[in-house]
Symmetry: C2
Subunit: 213 residues, 2 copies
Amino acid sequence: METSERRRQLKEALIAAAEGAIDRHGLAGVKARDLAREAGCAVGAIYNVVADLDDLILAVNSHTLGELERLLAPPGKAAPLTGPEAAVAQLIALGQAYLDFAASHTLRWRALFEHRMAAGKDVPDWYLDEQMRLFRHVEEPVAVLLPDIAAPRRALVARSLFSAVHGMVILGLEEKLQALPRDALHEQVRLIIRSLGYGLLAKEKPPPASGER
Amino acid sequence: METSERRRQLKEALIAAAEGAIDRHGLAGVKARDLAREAGCAVGAIYNVVADLDDLILAVNSHTLGELERLLAPPGKAAPLTGPEAAVAQLIALGQAYLDFAASHTLRWRALFEHRMAAGKDVPDWYLDEQMRLFRHVEEPVAVLLPDIAAPRRALVARSLFSAVHGMVILGLEEKLQALPRDALHEQVRLIIRSLGYGLLAKEKPPPASGER
């Protein structure tokens, strides 16, 4: 086997080991000694295939972002949004899917937000691009609700909507403010996104009469 | 000096030392050895006045909650809300104040959410009561927007509004999703709360024509 192929296989094994460690113990579970044992290499050999553990964590997070994207926007299921009602419904569906993903992959989802690069190192551009790609799924319904705003502002509003839902999911799942049954959390995510959607829309035109929704 | 008075003074000194440590280094900065040195006692003496470091951190967090409450609801400035417009304006003011507090006391604010009790210990009821008291300031305008919902549901909606704003503040300040200038964050908090407020209101009656707001 060629060296480059052996290196590739070792890197894959280390990424898989890091993903397993995060799934079991969160970011704090990513330890060079454990990864090396699981991948069957010496501790020092890790640094022949990656610069540091951040590289492995970014690879795991990239994989997590990919899974999340497949859940938010299943391939081959992209009917165009027919109007504001469909846009609000789409935002609600995205929010519910995000909550489900966070609830079922909690430690890997948390790692997306808790990971910090070592001092002096920046998050690489390819990773930022992957993050931004996810936001495009939120921007699409926002464009239907607010057709007249420019793209940079639309991106900002999409980011704010995401952040608002993220706040509900993180505080809801952590039960930091007293326990909240999962059904109640789903219902609240629905209520808040719907209110937000129709509230944004009301800036442009009056919302439909209540019978229509 | 009586023993009980000496114990009280030592406890105060330890709480002040813990607050300083959190302000400088966050929760990870709270270390028994450093606190003892600063308070001028032996490490073991800490455990004569508190059960463990959690007790000190809860005391600091309680102090932080008190500061936050004075900012959200300055004493002696409690004019009744005159209608939905005033309620939305009040929610926006609370959100802006929350953002300002988080931006200017970041590490102490984060400690409110990052602190976990030692395994097997519950957060004491007096602390939960203080946390809940803060939410009442959000419930008041919610009651004006949604006058017909029952108190438990009103509490749930207030919690959701808080969580949504908290999400914007935490992701905005951490700059986890690319940097966001503070002005833009303030403006987005305003937009999202206003949309949420009028969106909630629209469930009950149509929003006022755009000229009125």
